[in-house]
Each structure stands twice: as structure tokens, then as C-alpha cells.
Amino acid sequence: MKGRIKFLLHVLWTALLLPLSGCEKALNTKDYANWIKDTDNGLRAKKKVNHHTFDLQYLPAEYVWWQRNKMMTDKEKMREEVPAIEELQYYTLTLGIENDVVDFVDYGVQDHTEKQQKLYYFSYGFQQDLKLEVNGRLLPCALFHFERTLDLKSTRTFVLGFENDSKDTEETRLIIESGWLSAIPVKIKISKKNIPKLRL
């Protein structure tokens, strides 16, 4: 009899917990930021090719909203504004040189003219050489911004935006075909599984 009761309680407990296991977890802003920046969670991926380092970070819409409204804790406002942000999927791509031996812009250039050509390319032409593979489709880069930083970092960061018509896609791949970086395409995979919710 006792065994039967135990068994029934066990079944009841499992039945209660089962729906909860499917719920998305919510993290506070600090933990959320740490979670998305952790390479083990799939939203950030690093790669090395030809002495170049590639650091790709996917920015979930809630994170983009929070970055734009850091002082705000209005959940309702976040819920209203996030769908508009979700029209695009945002990424940052940071390019550098292995072991930070030299500034990314100075690497592989012989003189000032070549440096200017490289800067010009990465300011404008680079956008054409970026594609996002989503469900077998190649999307062009719709939003491109080369961050001009006034610091001593030897890396350069680009903010990228691609259209987001299939929001449930769990896997995307950035394809970079730039002669400045590699003669063959560089592919970086992002896995968007189990992204937690942002708790304000």
C-alpha cells in the first residue's frame, strides 16, 4: 500500500514538474549579459583563420532593447518595443589579429595608401561580402556599421543586421567572403537554442 502511494505521489510530482521544464528561464540583466556572452551557450562563436580572429556575437532583441534603454525598468515598454527590434536580427563581429600582435587595420598593408584602401573597404565594401545563411537561404547584410573606436584596442567591431523573417530558426551561419581576410569563405555558426528571457 505504502509503495503504491509513493508511486502515485511520484507520478503526480513528475506531472507537475513536466510543464515547468519546458518554460524559458528568466535572468536578471547582469546574468543575462553574461549568459549571451558565454561561448558555451551558442550565441557567441570565435574562430581563427589566417592569423585573423573572428568573434561573432548574436544579440537577442531583448538585449538590444536593454542596451538602448539601460536605465529603464519598464517591462511593459520592453514588451511593446521588442517586436519592432525583432524585425532585424543583430550581430556584432569583432575582427582582430592573432595574439594582438598588431592593429587589425595595420595588418597586411605596406603603406599609407594601402591602409586607406583597407579602411575604405571595411567601411563600405565589406558589407557586400557578408551573408547570413538561414534555413538554406542567403540573406544580404541589411544594416552595417563599422565602429570607429577611440581606444587602444587592436580589434575592430562591426554591427550587423539581417532581416528576420523566420524568428524561430535555431541556427544561423555568417558567411564572410573577403579577400582581405581569406581567399576561401569563413563560416561561423550561431546556435540560438534555449535563449533565456530578460528579467528587468
Binding site: 574562430k47 583563420v49 581567399a183 555558426k189
Partner: protein
């Protein structure tokens, strides 16, 4: 005597250190080999680049064909012979240059990924068998060609 209680652990420690030292010195190095050409052939990157080279060659051929047609149709077609020769020369050079660039880049990538594979799987040596006699014999059980192919293709596709 109080020092007596320390003798046993100290002797144990020394024995353990000795055993570990012997183990480390007699454990054979972990090594394997792969078939260079097979890896190169099966590389997804190579297949994609070959396709690109193919497109480039088709474009070039189309232009050459149109020049040939033009030579046959215009009155003084012989004037175009020099243009045709120049185009052939230029295209051959372009194709050759691109093939060399792609090949060099592919091998550089294969080298890098094999190096990463070795580190991740704790190999001391991974030999590339080229069939030119540099590796005269290896036990088939040490052949990791398939594993290397899977690994480099995954890495090329952006997986870590």
C-alpha cells in the same frame, strides 16, 4: 619517536612519484596518420571552391566563344585574332593564379584544423601520408583520415 609516523607516508609518496615517472617515460607517444590527398579531396571547402573556379572558367569560355563568333562573322576577322590570344593568355593566368591561391589556402586551413584536432585529442604526432614515401608503413588501426575529414568539414561549416 614522532618521526616514525612520517616515514610511511614519505616512502609512499616517493614510490608514487617514481611509479608516475616510470609510467610517463615508458608510455608510448600517441600517434596517428591520415591520407593527405583523401582529406583534400573530401574537403567541403575544396568542393565549393572548385565550383567557383568552374563558374569562372565558364564565364571566360563564353567570352572566348563570342570572340570566335565575331572573328568568323565580321569582314576582317583576322584583326581580332590578337585580341583572342590576349584574352586566352589573360584568362589562363587568372585561372592559374586563383587555383594556386585556393590550393594554398585550403592546405593552410587543413594544417590548422589538423593541429587543432591533435591538441583536442591529445595526440603527440599526426602524420600526413602523401604516398611519396615519407611514411613507409603504418598500422591501419592508426588511420584517422575519416575522423579528420569529418572534423575539418565541421570546422569549415563554422562549428567549434
Amino acid at each position: 619517536m614522532s618521526y616514525r609516523k612520517w616515514i610511511f607516508p614519505i616512502v609512499n609518496l616517493i614510490t608514487l612519484a617514481f611509479v608516475l615517472y616510470i609510467y610517463a617515460t615508458i608510455t608510448p607517444a600517441k600517434s596517428a596518420y591520415f591520407l593527405n590527398q583523401a582529406v583534400f579531396e573530401a574537403s567541403t571547402a575544396r568542393q565549393e571552391l572548385e565550383l567557383r573556379l568552374g563558374h569562372m572558367k565558364t564565364d571566360h569560355q563564353k567570352h572566348l566563344d563570342s570572340l570566335t563568333t565575331l572573328m568568323q562573322t565580321v569582314e576582317d576577322g583576322s584583326m581580332l585574332v590578337e585580341d583572342y590570344r590576349e584574352a586566352v593568355k589573360e584568362y589562363t593566368l587568372q585561372q592559374q593564379k586563383l587555383t594556386e591561391t585556393y590550393t594554398a589556402e585550403l592546405w593552410r586551413q587543413i594544417n590548422q584544423y589538423v593541429n587543432d584536432y591533435g591538441e583536442e585529442h591529445d595526440y603527440d604526432y599526426i602524420f600526413g601520408a602523401t604516398g611519396d614515401g615519407s611514411l613507409m608503413y603504418a598500422n591501419l588501426s592508426r588511420d584517422i583520415t575519416d575522423q579528420i575529414i569529418t572534423y575539418i568539414n565541421k570546422r569549415y561549416e563554422g562549428e567549434n
